[in-house]
Assembly symmetry: C5
Homo-oligomer: 357 residues x 5
């Protein structure tokens, strides 16, 4: 669940402060912040993992593209120094520091700020966990800031190191696109896992529904509501990137951005399909509950309608009146038995004809 509570707590703590005031609002405290820096160009490549932000920013800078990745948000001064070095607006710094924000793309003149969400499915709790990833695209640099250490950019690092593909030949805008593409690709992994979960629940619900199954379906549905709320702004981000008039994004990137946009649309399509699937599962389940209740009622009614009258009849001949001439007739007992049997059979046939059995 992309808990709105996280965001709300952050906002509540900041209420009354001047806009652009930096406050540590995130809750997750990594022991330390991980920094990594890549400098590269068509014929150049350098990688470093400086222990402090100052060292990270000090290094020389003759590369075509500089990528600084920061894992961990709990030290405001890191963001402040970063902001000072790359000329980030205080409002942008606030955006980077506030977790659980709505994904967005902002053109801040000399840089573009992308706020995105990295989603993973937590198997244990059955919930979607969200982490904010901020990407800053500047003239010759890209900054990426994550809430905690993740490995989603690992394959990208390998590609950079090996120099395979076109990535080293392209500019900073292509790197920013690739980072976003990694995040979007990750959605597909999440969606596949959710799809399997839906399938599991579907089978459980139709074969052997327990109270917990229903609860799980409702919880999954709730997760998917939140997921949907995340994917719509993602689409806007991809669209905004493609339509951006910023000079930071080169014309040549357009086919890639269109591809990214197509992927976000497809994600939305699948999420909506999942919603429909879950709704359909619940509808079918409720229909069958209703149906089964009907069957139970029919059984009860048939039993009651056959045996209650018979019990009344035998009750009659259990009465102790002195003057009950039938009691003395020798064929009365077998006759009554036959009569009652006939009556029961008749009722049975009647209910069968009504389709109740």
């Amino acid at each position: 669940m992309i808990d709105p509570g996280t965001f709300l707590k952050a906002q509540t703590r900041k209420a009354g402060l001047a806009p652009g005031t930096l406050v540590q609002v995130g809750e997750r405290k990594e022991e330390r912040i991980f920094l990594s820096r890549f400098d590269y160009g068509p014929e150049f490549f350098a990688e470093s993992t400086p222990p402090t932000i100052d060292e990270c920013l000090e290094q020389a800078e003759d590369a075509a593209v500089t990528w600084i990745n920061i894992d961990g948000l709990h030290d405001i001064s890191v963001i402040e120094k970063l902001g000072a070095r790359f000329g980030l607006d205080p409002l942008s710094q606030e955006d980077i520091l506030t977790p659980a924000q709505r994904p967005k793309l902002e053109d801040c003149g000399n840089y573009l700020l992308v706020i995105a969400r990295m989603l993973t499915f937590d198997e244990e709790s059955g919930r979607i966990r969200a982490e904010q990833v901020s990407i800053v695209l500047g003239e010759r640099f890209v900054l990426s800031i994550q809430e905690s250490r993740g490995d989603v950019f690992g394959p990208l690092r390998d590609r950079l190191r090996s120099g395979r593909g076109r990535i080293r030949k392209m500019g900073a805008d292509y790197l920013a696109y690739v980072l976003l593409d990694c995040i979007v690709d990750n959605y597909f992994v999440l969606l596949e896992r959710l799809g399997e979960r839906i399938q599991e629940l579907d089978e459980e619900l139709s074969l052997d529904p327990r109270r917990e199954t229903l609860q799980s379906v409702h919880e999954l549905r709730r997760e998917i509501i939140f997921l949907r709320k995340s994917t719509w702004p993602l689409r806007e981000v991809a669209n905004g990137f493609e339509r951006s008039e910023s000079t930071l994004v080169s014309e040549g990137l357009n086919p890639y951005l269109r591809d990214l946009y197509d992927h976000t649309i497809q994600i939305i399509d699948i999420v909506e399909t999942y919603q429909d699937l879950l709704q359909g599962m619940l509808d079918l389940y409720l229909s069958s509950v209703s149906n089964r209740m009907n069957e139970v009622m029919k059984v009860l009614t048939v039993f009651a309608a056959i045996f209650i009258p018979l019990t009344f009849i035998v009750g009659i001949y259990g009465m102790n009146f002195e003057h009950m001439p039938e009691l003395a007739w020798s064929w009365a007992y077998p006759g009554l038995l036959v009569l009652m049997f006939g009556g029961a059979v008749g009722m049975f046939l009647f209910f069968r004809r009504k389709g109740w059995m």
Copy 2:
């Protein structure tokens, strides 16, 4: 509940009057009206709390920005004098005086009028209380008019007094933005409280639902319907502010206004999520009621289907016919007991196989 009744009563009282006629329609009567005035500039600051509106307006005016705040609406003459002094249109004055209006932004040429709502959660009644706040942004002045005394602008006053941050260096438009930002920030506080309430009700509903719980969920849902009706126009206000072509709003304010707009979008997102959550809770609750009914019915049916036929059988041998040869057989009684026991076990197994037990 943002009671439409308040607004309707006001409108009804005014039906037939000429547009722009000022009528005291608000119901809440503060004993007196609180006035406060701030005059400030980059290097200048003066604060006063004049007892009457005349004194408030009389004061000299060599400040870059003048902010007059009025708490209390029950004296029409105050608004009239304000209107005369700052050139407010009669229709604008009417808007300021009419409570429970739809939030809106109006460009009235030499000033901008913002009608907004301040929302608080009344713990006792479990309802959202709404108060109208009107903000007038003019050339070098800002007016803010509230229905009753509130403390939401308190931190802002402190910031003004201390001269911290950029507020004293900015113009009247920035002050108007900050006032609106205070109001929007307050929504987050409300949303956090509502989120907690939803969580409480969710637990109550799944653990120990009483009749009152259902009622509470429905009431909360109703409150959130009203809340949603309030947030959409708020978004329009923020959007209108950003897109305003008025010369009163400087270019430099745009990043702040975009930030404000993002916040209103996020509020709408959270409100819609809350709606979905409540709907999901009710759906789940209804499913479980239906489920439980099913279980109850099964128990009833199993009991009835096992014991009603048995009661019939023992009824047979309670009959007083003279010619019932079985009665004299010595093994008849134990045999019948065994038979009945066997029948009951058979029924039991049958129902168990059907999954009814």
Copy 3:
């Protein structure tokens, strides 16, 4: 209920006729048509109630604005003469004569035609009654045509007579606006009444719901569906008025028209809120019916599950077998009583633990 039947009957009667053919389709027949004429300007005022349309049209015309009001639609010739005198298109005349039309604004070149609906709540039938009001705004004249005599323009007439306010100083466009404003104000009166009715029904439904209450809620809901269908085109009328490029509407009227537009938006908001309220009431009611059924079933099941087995047991010892040794044991009867009591208590505790009691 704004009965579509009225409109449909009118249309059906006209099917096959040439467009623009005038037919008396309204059903309500006032005994006579009431005419009134106001001629006024900043320094001039004349009022008359001519008995016939010819006299009404004959009068001299040196006024800045001429307002002719007609109550009653059953005489086609009146509209024809009016049309001839003021150059109304046959299609416009047809619109004026056809009741229950969709509200609209039409720019017919030398005049603007507004078709609106006057709504009142009929306490007896619990239905909304609708009457069509047509307003024609021309160069220096305004025509208003109502289906039957109403008093909604009464306060306006008083304002004209007294010369208070700005009305006499303004042109024909302002008069047309004021007429429309009267009609819109009337909606608020209706909405307040409906709000009270909803409150009444809400209480009835939660305290002592009878079959009639449910029926009433559904009827009110139906009325509000119709009301909503009326308010959307009203908004279009107000919007169209404001955006009109006709020279008949002066620039100075814009703030008033914006105000009118705001009112229609607020009406729509309230109507939608009412719909949600009614839907919520019905949902809550259905949940409680379902809940109550559950309770009833539990009581039945508990009774049946406790007493049906006991009845079976006593039935056993009511059998007349000769060889039932227990019958002779002296402690058998009290022992059985104790046993049965214990069993009943056990069942009772079991059901209590299951939360069924």
Copy 4:
């Protein structure tokens, strides 16, 4: 029901053929095709009903407007000859020949093609029957092609013959408009009939609902779903006509086209209202079923809860134990009767207080 099957069968039969290939796909086979031709101008009028299409097309042509009406679609050669004579595109000819198409307006350069639907309510089956009407508006001619012989244009023919009204003075575009207006007017007749049917069903459903009533409501609802699907494109046709930039449509026609457009909007409004009405009827019905079930259950529970325990008690004293001292007490029987009566009354009062009786 505007059966999509008809259209689908036509399309299926054509799958794989080249676009624009003419195939006889309509199913209805009139014995012969009825042709009629009207030539008229302000001072000229000629009418003929030629037996063959060749004769129909051969006639001289000095009229301002030529109107050819064709009833029956089963002879492809007729459409081909028509197409050749008036320069119709093969795709247009295909459109004319394919039944159950979506209504549309197409500007084909030298002519406009309107595909519309004529709807009638079939009383017997309770279904809406649809027939396709194609109207071709050319420079000085109008073609109208119907699936089978209808009389909806009868009054129009009379108007042409009599020369009443403005029709003979106007051009071909006005004739096309009048044909479309006839079709739209016919919708109102249908809607009135449907309105009556809804009223009937509403009464049946609230007074004496039988299984068939529910079925009928659902069928009517289905019909109205189809009807709605027909009316939206009709609106687009009317709108497209008004906004058409074709020189075939003169400026002077605009007020008429706006009127036509208003009518289609009103039709949509009424159809949507009908949908809401039917939905409301079903909701109310389901609520009452639920309510009634509740009542039934209460009666059952009260009976069971009162008499089952009593039956158990009398069962006790029907046991044949030898040592049951109470049996010998002389006041035991009347005392027990009084006790049981008291218990029953107590239960009765208890249930009454619970509101179950």
Copy 5:
């Protein structure tokens, strides 16, 4: 079911790879790939089925249009060679190779790429099977790539061979249109089959609903949800084609493209209608289940309410009290019988009046 799983698996396998990397992600492995090549012009025609892609691409090329059709996607090198020969972008090649993509039209400068879906109804599983078809329209060539061998383009091949119709006289854009038209026509075949299936299920559901029927309806509904998700982007493709500003699409194609667009709209209309139909079927079914339950409950209640009190009464006279004077009265037994009969008849009449029988 257009299983999102297929697409997701493909995407998951590609996560972390550079965009434009070609990976074999499709699962279906045909034994070999089928290639066919048509070269034609107004006066020229050549057909070949080369065994390898190299031979297919080698052939001379003096034709107006070259159409290469490829059935089978499992050999990446085929697509790579094709891409090299016709200058396809790596992203386009990736699109062609990734199955289950959202249909789309992309203008890639020197060619247009259409991704479409071919749908067939699998009778056995009752599911819709989807295969991706990619169409590339270049200057003088058209490429069509299918996942597996299909015969939907068979009639088109015959038309090409025979030289009938206009196809040989038109350019490559017309061929691309005809291919798309074949695919769209195929949707109608599918829709007709689905329509029949709905009809079958409707009858089953109203006559003799079994548990499987409900399941089938829900499955069909799910299929139609997926179908709808497929048809909306198809409409966008048709629309994009028509509005394309690419020089590859000639003006003369517009009427055909409009026709194609109309067909996609009609498909959407029918799919939505099917959704409404299925929803209506389920609603009606649930209403009848509810209704039937009501009937069952009434029967149960009537039986219980009549016989339970009677059983109690006969139980009274089965008691063994010594002092029960009634037992000795000679008319007591027949009197009681008459009384009980009267009571039963009374109850019966009471319930009949209540409409429960």
